[in-house]
């Protein structure tokens, strides 16, 4: 009995769509591979291999989904190399003969750029007003765009003149509530000159291991003259006569929160201030006060009317 003749349908058409053309080195991207035979053959189950230029297999998947004439392997995960630069890859489907029909091998080339991880720098916890020459603390956080652990990374603080005024080393654990924002607490000394000073917190780039770009942020350090007097603010509910804890007191640039007795104390330089006392669910209290000596002021706050959402 003569062997059954094999027919060839040639190489199926292979196309690749990628989730990104730029991706952090070492981070994940996905590719969707489509394969179709001009004769409409069923290619379900065929295996697609994603390979690097040196033919190393980076990922593989089976074509399990039909989309019109094409068979699809959707969102195949692929990890970018740690090396920064253009990466050329191929999606390869091997030749296969089935039921007397030969589909020749096929492939599609695609590329992406593996980039250095961006670093985002943030500063918080600065006192709103710092007396000249006073030592103060604040926090600096750094986040890698790929969420890398940055423990031990160095950061430095320079002043308006570029002079080094502080340094820090990122701690072991990320800042509470964040997934990968690593932080350091920095101590520095305020300049003697009164006014706003623009400092910079920065972290250098790195080429070892995963490549990280440098990052920096400029922030204001508000320096005021030494306090002259104490202002005591007593926040009360104007209708119930009870103290309001946690009310916010603003004598710009000085800020404070009231304690459990509704009292806040602020040491301020002498002068005229606009006082705002605000509490959640209260209409803010406003007043002008002149500070020429220690002063105590009582702020009676009126509760907000029923919210608009409390309709009847």
């Amino acid at each position: 009995m003569a062997a059954k003749a094999t027919r060839t349908h040639g190489a199926p058409t292979c196309t690749v769509e990628q989730s990104a053309h730029k991706v952090d080195a070492g981070a994940e991207l996905t590719v969707t591979v489509r394969l179709s035979c001009p004769h409409g053959c069923d290619l379900k189950g065929r295996r697609v291999s994603v390979r690097a230029r040196d033919n190393t297999e980076l990922a593989s998947a089976e074509l399990m989904e039909r989309d019109g004439e094409a068979f699809v392997a959707r969102a195949v995960p692929l990890r970018a190399p740690l090396r920064v630069g253009v990466q050329v890859c191929r999606a390869v489907v091997a030749a296969q003969e089935q039921d007397g029909v030969l589909h020749e091998a096929t492939s599609a080339e695609f590329s992406f750029v593996a980039t250095a991880h961006a670093t985002s720098v943030n500063v918080w916890g600065l006192p709103s007003a710092i007396a000249a020459g006073e030592r103060f603390r604040f926090k600096v956080g750094i986040k890698c765009s790929a969420g890398c652990k940055l423990t031990g990374r160095q950061l430095s603080i320079v002043d308006d003149e570029g002079a080094h005024v502080g340094a820090g080393c990122l701690r072991e654990d990320p800042w509470p509530g964040t997934s990968a924002l690593y932080f350091a607490e920095v101590e520095a000394e305020a300049p003697m000159a009164i006014g706003d000073h623009w400092w910079q917190a920065s972290t250098p780039g790195s080429d070892s291991g995963v490549c990280h770009a440098a990052g920096a942020i400029t922030f204001a350090v508000k320096v005021v003259s030494s306090p002259d007097h104490e202002v005591t603010v007593e926040a009360f509910d104007g209708e119930k006569g009870i103290p309001i804890a946690g009310a916010h007191v603003l004598l710009h640039p000085y800020r404070a929160l009231t304690d459990g007795s509704g009292i806040a104390r602020l040491n301020v330089a002498k002068g005229r201030y606009q006082l705002f006392v605000s509490g959640f669910n209260y209409i803010a209290y406003e007043n002008i006060i002149d500070v020429a000596a220690d002063v105590t002021t009582r702020a009676e706050l009126i509760a907000e009317p029923e919210g608009q959402e409390d309709y009847h």
């Binding site: 986040k143 964040t178 916010h248 803010a284 029923e306 919210g307 959402e309 409390d310 009847h312």
Partner: protein, 690 residues
Amino acid sequence: MARNRDSGQKQPKLRKEKAVSRRDFFKGGAAAGGAVVLSGGALAQESSAGAQRIQWNYEADVVVLGSGCVGLHAAVRARDLGASVLVLEQNFDVGGKLVHSGGWTSLGGGDAIQERDRAAADPQGLGLKAPLIKPEDLEDDPDRLFRDVTDWSVVDATGVARYRYNDRELHRAWADNAPKVRQFMMDNYVRFARIDGTHQGGGMSRARAARAIMKLADKTDIKAGTLSSQDRGDPAGERHSPFSPMRTTPGSPADSLGAPGWVFGGFVIARSLEFSAREKGVRFMLNRHMDELIREQPFTGRVLGVKASYAPRMHPQTGERLESFWPNGNIDERAQTIHIRARRAIIVATGGMHGSVPLRTMIDPRMVEPSIEYGPSALIGPLNMDGSGISAAMKIGANLAGMMQNYQHSLGSPTISSVIGTRDAIGSIFPGHPSFLFARAKGISIGGAGWEHAIAVNQVGKRFYNERAIANVSSDAKYPPGSDGTRNPFVPLDWRNASPAQVRAQYKRSAAIDAALAMNEGSRAPDFASGPIWAIFDSAAAQRGGWKIRYPYIADPPDGYFHKADTLAELAKKVMGHPYQRMPLKYLEETIARYNALADKGMDEDFEKPVLHRIDTPPFYAASASIRVLDSYGGLRINGKAQVLDTQGDVIRGLYAGGEASGGGWQHGIGRASVHGYIAGTNAAQEPSA
């Protein structure tokens, strides 16, 4: 009153059937009651309806479309007058928007509660304390009430004349019936606390509003007016109950309303009237949406019935159909499309129209924005406020009225919610009520003061207004005079109430919503929609405010309405999880940098927000601050009998409407809807039987 639980009383018995003929029977073997009939097979009724012949699946004397405040009052009233009544409700349970309102019922005209409090009496033995209002401010009559609700001179704090444009025939009828409705509600198990003011739209000169109350007890008993703690729900335990899905606190204490030991809420009225309706034999067909009104001829003749489709709501996890709290009296009809004949009349009680973009943009073209929230959508469902009653009546020739009364009103036009991070800021429901399955988060209530600690940005991440003024939208011109800046002493019909000096003195409208709805860089042709609004804040703000950044205040798993990120850049991208957010918050980092610089400077040079707090402490949050609208004030044109009128001013025979499906009056809430329902039910039941 938990389902299938002994409540200490028998389940409501259906009123003895009247004249059920041999050919009449009920679907699914339901007990007889109300002469709502299914006509099937060879016994089918056929009616001429234009060119088509309709095979009716059910019939009743009066068919009520909707089971909210209008529908319940109409149904019970019509049943009391001997009509068989079938209520169609698109939701899985009865009550509509009424069930989670505050239950503040403004009637008057010398009603029974005004008289009770004027006499400092407590004839029902509720244990009430002394009245809260002086007797002379409770002395009232329908003529005074009519004058008050049509007083041309009253202007509110947003420059809106509250009563000037009210339809006179409608409000004459409303004032004449208000005292009767108070008694009607009381006759149907509703009890009231002391009168403590007057509701929006209820007039300036007299106190007319009291909260509907139930007394806390071991068990729920509608007839006795008692409510169990389980059915009340537990705000401290973050739980609502299926009985009482009230939006702020389940069953708020009524101690300060002269009713110690009682709680108030709209659920009191909804459940009491529902109980009474079922007891009297009103039949309910739930999960059933009215699609079309059928008239003898397209634009002439009597209205004969409705075409209605099956619209069940399914449990998102189990796929099972959601069921009503009480089952008795329900007709479980699951055919996809049915026709229902009304022998006497149909009452359109379908509520407002803000769920319909084509209808709502008749009032305000900016409401093309698809993210605008309307009604308690999770509670009442996706067909809530879809305007179907209005559009169906328009298709058979009905006219509209009062469309302008939505405009620039704090309840009838859009506002920005201070309940943030939820898709249902209006509902703001805790777990325990089935609708939470759809809301997925109660939301975080930051109040107006909370905006001091957050910024509001548009869909491209730019600020647009002084956030602290976002909540400055309430504008009530009502008793007592002097409230919200109105003139005091108040003289009715006095030109001084509306003088430029008076309006200047009291005007306080915030234009935050107008800035929010303005076109921005993200607005695209053809609609140029403004996009969602986001509250942006940091963890320091959340800590200062004690905001609960956790389930059930935010969704778990996330649903796109609340986002958290380590950095602002990440946050700007994450908002794309919102179904109506079409782009990242392109300018967010720039906006925050500017805002922080202004905070350091101590002066908001951009929007004059009085106090600014730096937004710099990670993590950062973006919470949807929905643009939402509560009330509909435009709708079908009705006369004093609640009959729908056509474009020639003629009555469309057999068709009634009320509440938010109708137009012609600016009045919010239960007072409006209850009286409309009562009038419609009264007249519908007395229509000749076709």
